[in-house]
C-alpha cells in the first residue's frame, strides 16, 4: 500500500537555525503514526511542514521532498492541502466568538462542501459524534465554547477538523493539557478513526505512544533516531 505521507531528506531552517536534519519517513494510510520525542526536538515543526502550515512562520526555508497522497506538497493548492491534511493544535483553540455549532460548521460552509442546512446539520452531528462530544453538547449547540472544559474544547477542535472530512489528521500533542478522563476519550476517538483516515500524532508521552501507535517514529534534536512498528 502506498504511504499517505512520504518524506525524503527533509531539512528545515528557521532564521538560519537548522531545526530538522535529513528527515525521511513514511506514514502508512489508515494507520496511526506516532512521532515521539522530547520537547524542542522538532516534532511539531515536522507536523506543520506536512501541510505547509510552517510557512506561516517567519524565516522558514526547507529542502527535500514531501508527498501527501502521492503528490508533492508544492504541487497542491495550499488551502486544499490543509483541508485534506487537517492540523489540530496542542492547545484547544476553538473560535471563542462562534457557537459550538458554528465552530464545527465553519469549515464545511467556507469550503462550500454542503448542499443545504440539513446537510450541514448532518455533518456537524456526524463530526461531534465522531469526536465523542455529541451527547455532551447536543442541548447547547448555540452556546459559546467557553462553557466547555479544556478536554471538551479539544474534542470540539477535533470535531471541527473532522467536519472537513479530511483524509489525514495531524494531531500536535492533543492531550498535553488535558485531564486523564478526557485523554482517554480522545484516545478512543483516535482508535475509532483509524479505519477512516490516516493519523499522524505527535506526543512526548511514551505510554500514549505505545497505546496508539501502529508505527512509531522517535525524533531527537531534529534527527530521526528510529522508526519502528511497536511489538516488533
Amino acid at each position: 500500500m502506498n504511504p499517505a505521507i512520504m518524506i525524503e531528506d527533509l531539512n528545515l531552517w528557521i532564521k538560519n537555525r537548522q531545526i530538522l536534519h535529513n528527515i525521511s519517513l513514511r506514514a502508512p494510510a489508515y494507520k496511526i503514526t506516532v512521532i515521539i520525542g522530547p520537547s524542542g526536538s522538532g516534532k511539531s515543526t515536522l507536523l506543520r511542514t506536512i501541510n505547509r502550515l510552517i510557512e506561516l512562520t517567519e524565516g522558514v526555508r526547507y529542502t527535500g521532498m514531501i508527498r501527501v497522497l502521492g503528490k508533492d506538497i508544492m504541487d497542491w493548492d495550499v488551502y486544499e492541502l490543509r483541508r485534506t491534511a487537517v492540523y489540530v493544535a496542542q492547545t484547544p483553540n476553538p473560535f471563542p466568538h462562534m457557537t459550538i455549532y458554528e465552530n464545527v460548521a465553519i469549515g464545511p460552509v467556507l469550503h462550500d462542501i454542503v448542499r443545504d442546512k440539513a446537510d450541514l446539520d448532518r455533518i456537524v452531528r456526524w463530526a461531534l459524534e465522531k469526536a465523542m462530544l455529541w451527547d455532551e453538547v447536543k442541548g447547547r449547540l448555540d452556546e459559546k465554547p467557553g462553557v466547555l472544559s479544556g478536554g471538551q474544547q479539544q474534542r470540539l477542535c477535533i470535531a471541527r477538523a473532522l467536519a472537513l472530512k479530511p483524509q489525514i489528521l495531524l494531531l500536535d500533542e492533543p492531550t498535553a493539557n488535558i485531564d486523564p478522563e478526557n485523554t482517554h476519550r480522545i484516545e478512543e476517538v483516535l482508535k475509532r478513526l483509524r479505519d477512516e483516515m490516516t493519523i499522524v500524532l505527535v506526543t512526548h508521552n511514551h505510554d500514549q505512544a505505545m497505546r496508539l501507535a501502529d508505527y512509531l517514529v522517535v525524533i531527537r534534536d531534529g534527527h530521526i533516531e528510529s522508526s519502528v512498528k511497536p511489538g516488533d
Binding site: 501541510n51 502550515l53 506561516l56 517567519e58 488551502y79 486544499e80 492541502l81 490543509r82 483541508r83 485534506t84 487537517v86 492540523y87 489540530v88 493544535a89 492547545t91 483553540n93 476553538p94 473560535f95 471563542p96 466568538h97 462562534m98 465553519i106 469549515g107 467556507l110 469550503h111 477542535c157 471541527r160 477538523a161 472537513l164
Partner: protein, 278 residues
C-alpha cells in the same frame, strides 16, 4: 515612619493632587462654560434650535442650526464610509503582510498623516477638488474628513487585528481557509469590538474637525442639504464662523451649537467606552 519621611510623603500626595486638578481644570472649565452658555441658548430657543434656520444678524433670537446639524451628520456618515474601508484594508495589509515592503511603507505613511496639520489636508482637497469643480461641496468636505480620520481608524483597526491570538490565526489557517476568508469570516468577527470602536473614533473625530472644512464645504447655513456637489454646513464651521461675527445673537447660537457638538462627542465617547471594555 520618621517625621521627615511622613511630611515628604504628604507633600508628594498633595503635589500629585494639585497637578492632577490643574490638568483636568481646563476640561471642567470648558464643559461648564459650554453647558451654562449653550444651555441658556437652547432653553431660550427650544427644540427649534435643532431644526430651525438661523435668524438674521440683528434679530433678538439666536435662531436654529438645523442645516449645519444635518450637514454635520451627512459629513460624518460620508467621511466614515469613505475612510473606514480604506483604513481597514490598509490595516489588513500592514498586519497580514508584515514582511511586505509596501505594507511597511503604507504603515509609516498612514501613521505620519496623524502629524500633518489638518488644515493642510483641507488645502490639498481644495486644490484637487474645489478648484477644478469650481464649487465647495459636501464631497470635498467628506473626502477631507476621510483623510483626517483615516490614521485614527487605521491605528485602532491595526491594534484590533494584531490583538487576535496566534492560536486563533493558526486554527483558521489549519482548516485550509484562505487569507481572505480568515480575515473576513474569522479575524474580523474575533476583533469586532475593536473594529466598532475604530468606527466610533472616526465618527467622533469627523464630528469635531473644523480646519479641513474651512476650504471645502462652503458653509451653507440657510438651506438644508441640496446635493453632494453643493455647499453644505457643519456645526464646527458654524461655531467658528459665528464667533468671528460681531452679532450677539450669533455668539449665543455658537454657544448652543458648541453644546450640541459636545453632546454628540460625549455620546460617541460613552459608546466607545462601553465597547472598548473587555
Amino acid at each position: 515612619m520618621s517625621r521627615h519621611r511622613y511630611f515628604k510623603d504628604k507633600l508628594f500626595k498633595i503635589m500629585v493632587f494639585v497637578f492632577a486638578m490643574a490638568g483636568v481644570a481646563p476640561l471642567f472649565a470648558i464643559i461648564s462654560a459650554i453647558a451654562v452658555n449653550g444651555g441658556k441658548t437652547i432653553l431660550s430657543v427650544g427644540p427649534g434650535f435643532f431644526y430651525g434656520l438661523p435668524s438674521s444678524p440683528l434679530s433678538s433670537s439666536p435662531g436654529g442650526i438645523g442645516p449645519a446639524l444635518v450637514g454635520s451628520l451627512i459629513l460624518m456618515f460620508l467621511s466614515t464610509i469613505i475612510g473606514y474601508p480604506l483604513a481597514f484594508m490598509t490595516a489588513v495589509l500592514a498586519v497580514e503582510f508584515p514582511e511586505s515592503v509596501f505594507g511597511r511603507f503604507i504603515d509609516v505613511l498612514v501613521k505620519s498623516l496623524l502629524e500633518i496639520p489638518t488644515i493642510l489636508i483641507g488645502v490639498l482637497v481644495y486644490s484637487l477638488l474645489v478648484v477644478p469643480t469650481g464649487s465647495f461641496s459636501a464631497w470635498a468636505g467628506a473626502i477631507a474628513l476621510a483623510i483626517v480620520i483615516l490614521p485614527y481608524i487605521y491605528t485602532h483597526v491595526e491594534n484590533s487585528l494584531r490583538s487576535i491570538p496566534a492560536d486563533i490565526r493558526l486554527a483558521s489557517y489549519s482548516l485550509g481557509l484562505s487569507r481572505a476568508k480568515s480575515i473576513f469570516y474569522v479575524f474580523t468577527c474575533e476583533a469586532k469590538r475593536g473594529l466598532l470602536t475604530a468606527m466610533l473614533i472616526g465618527l467622533a473625530r469627523a464630528s469635531g474637525e473644523t480646519a479641513p472644512l474651512l476650504f471645502t464645504i462652503g458653509g451653507n447655513w440657510f438651506t438644508y442639504f441640496q446635493g453632494l456637489g453643493k455647499p453644505i454646513g457643519a456645526v464646527p464651521l458654524l461655531i467658528y464662523t459665528y464667533t468671528l461675527t460681531p452679532y450677539t445673537n450669533y455668539h449665543e447660537a455658537a454657544w448652543g451649537a458648541s453644546l450640541v457638538l459636545l453632546m454628540v462627542y460625549l455620546s460617541l465617547f460613552a459608546v466607545f467606552r462601553r465597547f472598548s471594555k473587555p
